[in-house]
Symmetry: D2
């Protein structure tokens, strides 16, 4: 049995779509845990894909996907901002334990010049990178700091080189123990845009993210564990049309227009066919169009700061927020 | 007879929508002329709304709307770029004759910080403004230059002041003969985004443009003629969904599913009701979501340069392109 | 007796220069108070110019100049950041008491496109502006909020209109009780760049700030009290050369080269003449060249946030930091 | 005999400094050719360092340095812009002949976030990169195109990795025949800022450029020829002070203050010592301060476009300007 899936990079959305199809609660091979904090309107969902069966149904590789959701994330709120920094740092460490000597490479995926795809490069520009300091002036460096380096290689259309190849070349040179890859994602629901952070231990796989990727960044391609951290910043235009149309039909149905052969036909039309039709209608614009909130510029800046500080706290546990300024240029 | 209209700021799109309804070629009170240039894939359409009847049907005020359309406009093509600059300059002059002594104020509407809404401010930053030079060092100024000043006041959400009030205050101080207002617009068709420039002698009216305006910039509010220049840079999300759904139904119909009471019902459903339903479904995201091409950052920069140079040539006919650099800081 | 002054916008630097000349502690007509906080390495200096004599000697108008200095200001330190926000808010209120009904207009001076001159526009973009909300939806607005509007008119070279004229036009329209003007300043000492915030109740006077101004923003020109808030973000190139040369001579002197007629001549050369010579040598580049730190982009962003939040707290005392996000778009 | 050199990355400035010391025209081991074009106020200087002696005197490695100088370069002049694009393309090809099959990697050095250091990344973002197209859709690619890829790795302070290491890693992966490295440079004379383009076949050496480099990009480190292309965008603050002081002394001398032991002493003071004193006085700000024109943002954009198009024409001779847009995203 396969499920057709319109575009989402979020494991929690993949799960919702399958459950809607299925009408049963459980998905075989998939375990879900949830945690909530009222004051932050926070929901942390841990989706564990445990075997090949789960992976096939979910359309995502085996591994753990932690999603931090809160409407506050997209808001300009200084107080909760610090709470979320701590939560990101803590969940990152729970996802992947690090030893004191681990050498880390952080990769910022995406395109500086396209606002909703700039999350990765913006996070990288705010990290406490220490590898060069440890090499050139080890005596000045606090013992509690790990060796961290970071790069934003740019997208295929600008470099002409697969991001995977560039990172392989750098991994060969500097031999990190763990890679952390930051990426902007596509969501299915408008309400999730800029209100969720997904972290997983499965790395990045071809076809995910806002840009197109032909090659993954994961243990198979790089030889070391890869943690992926992402925020949905756009909705695919075809997905938005498709889902809105489904909701429109539901609304019409509820409003007692539910008889007639055509309605049933439309209801029962092969879902993948309908989605393909929409894509064709939107072509040649689809793939080139995205749907994004008006305040995306300011929101991306804030989320990049939040994630960068969360990573800084996770990688350099001895560093308090007062010290971070000294290490960021 | 009134027509319901989904969101478009373009007179040529308003006309297309009405003709589709009507199936007749002519719209009473509206005159249309067209001109084409093969090498530039260029189409110049002049829509003249001549009386109140035309204005009511079109949903736009009486006046002339010139639209310059070409797929090259959104492309990074240095050769055609210069041709379009000349065309913009020429059409602007045809729309509004200027005397040598006319004092001009150019207003860049929109928000610097929101890429698809930044067209106006970006045009303003590349204009040859001369008013201060004429006042402080008239002897150094070429006689062929007109007095030009320019301002980008920012949007209501940032200033707390209606753009119209700000411009009224400035118009009171500097008493221009003509105001030219630059704005980013919303199109209905994805194919028109960044491929059309509309110029009209009717000014800017409440509710048009990418941002929300509560007060117009036109002869009634400012006391002087206002030329509006705009480029559609976004599609409204609800419009995209609505139009894609209509096309999907057309496709299904063509594919012989045309019977059944439901289909007819959907066909005949009050169009405004359907659009309102879609808006409600997309709410609370609608109004906050826009649909825009991925390369919007680079395209806006190019179009802003093109329009600014076109205006420079129209306002300062004695200035050749070599000289312009000396006057732009 | 007049003192020649190389370029500084800071009252505390003007005072230092005069005291160095004079070798006496006191300046007639000028009163100075100082306050320190060890943990923030903070020094708050209040310079009061009390009469015309003080104004002449200081080369600045009668009024109060409060300067908040700390090396932490230019650092990326989240903890002290919040302290400085509170201090800016508190000192602003001490400088100018506001009544509950006061209507405020904040003016961001300077040029968006020139990093060290972009402080004003960046502050404005982060203010809680409320004037439009109070007008269009008063019931939704907290009673504790004041009516605040804000504008960044752009510089003379881009608008062709004196900033003073633009602001006069807007003041005529919206009739504020107080204007707050934010500007980037020029310092004399490299160590003060980005480490000081000056607030004064004298407004902005011609010739101050990073850009050139021919017209002031003050009670005389606008008819309402004007509070000026500024940060030194650049040093003038000629000032840097002049002061470094003086220090070089001092160093040489200390190194026992202190005899000879030429040295004395150079020591005694008319200071203004020497500075003019340096300006001429640097011309035609002077006026066009500035000296600024490499990390100016990030530092300006941080200082703009700090000042904006400080102003938000001063103008909307009922608003806690949690609420601010709701009002900033 | 060694000459002390204040900071310059330009071979033509190094030569001027030596000639001023020497008062003779010729420098042993160095050959100079010059070419001029009146209409463009253009001077093309080819400095050839032919042997170790020349390299030692000039303080630069053996090789050819071509400098294109014109005051028009920093101006916003559309007509000469295209001429300069052609000249950059032609001189690049004269410096390094390329075969049809040569695979090229372009490296943009410098920091996106620091305006005068952003030249390299800005050039890279406008190149016609083709390597991925040739790999994934060779049938769609014009035969006249070369395989070009490009990367802007970011600076050491942001990545924690030497740029040289990153590029070595990528060179190992994609095996280019030639590397072209773009960098912002430091000039000695204010008049050269943004008015010169230097191209050399010697690659990039440690200590050059606006940022600090500890490792070069040249044939020795990468194993393939490296062409360096640079524009001076800043002057070092200590160099500006030093040179202005020297000019001041010359002026004073001309004005008949030429007697006295002190003046002679200052004249004869060891030049390196004086420069070191100035650096110490400016410390701890030196290295952190740069001197740059106010219009640097707009000028860098224009020069990046010019150099990118020049490189595009040199690398893809079959491509005319009309086609370039199709390949740039």
């Amino acid at each position: 049995m396969t499920f057709f899936q319109t575009r989402t990079d979020l494991a929690i959305e993949a799960r919702e779509m399958i459950q809607k199809e299925d009408q049963t609660g459980e998905i075989p091979g998939v375990k879900v845990e949830m945690e909530q904090k009222e004051d932050l309107k926070l929901k942390i969902t841990k989706v564990k894909i445990m075997d090949n069966k789960g992976a096939e149904v979910m359309g995502k590789p085996i591994g753990t996907y932690v999603t931090i959701e809160s409407p506050f994330l997209k808001e300009n709120d200084m107080d909760t901002h610090e709470d979320f920094i701590r939560i990101v740092g803590k969940e990152l460490i729970r996802l992947k334990e690090l030893s004191e000597e681990d050498v880390i490479l952080v990769v910022g995926l995406g395109n500086w010049n396209v606002t909703p795809d700039a999350l990765g490069p913006k996070v990288v520009s705010q990290l406490v990178v220490t590898r060069h300091l440890m090499e050139y002036m080890p005596e000045q460096i606090d013992e509690s700091l790990r060796s961290v380096s970071a790069i934003s290689p740019g997208v295929l259309g600008i470099t002409g080189i697969e991001t995977g190849e560039i990172i392989q070349g750098i991994v060969d040179k500097i031999a990190p123990d763990v890679v952390i890859a930051i990426d902007a994602l596509a969501a299915r629901k408008a309400s999730r845009v800029n209100t969720a952070i997904q972290m997983s231990d499965t790395g990045v796989h071809p076809g995910s993210g806002v840009g197109n990727k032909r090659m993954g960044l994961n243990k198979e391609t790089l030889g070391v564990p890869v943690i992926a951290v992402g925020v949905p910043t756009v909705i695919d235009a075809a997905t938005l049309v498709n889902d809105t149309m489904d909701q429109l039909l539901d609304t019409m149905k509820a409003e007692a227009m539910k008889e007639g052969p055509f309605y049933e036909m439309l209801q029962n039309v092969n879902k993948e066919e309908k989605y393909q039709l929409i894509r064709e209608i939107l072509a040649p614009y689809v793939g080139n169009l995205f749907v994004t909130p008006k305040d995306i510029d300011a929101t991306i800046d804030r989320l990049a700061h939040l994630i960068a500080q969360g990573i800084n706290m996770a990688l350099h546990p001895g560093l308090d927020t007062k010290d971070i300024g000294r290490y960021i240029n």
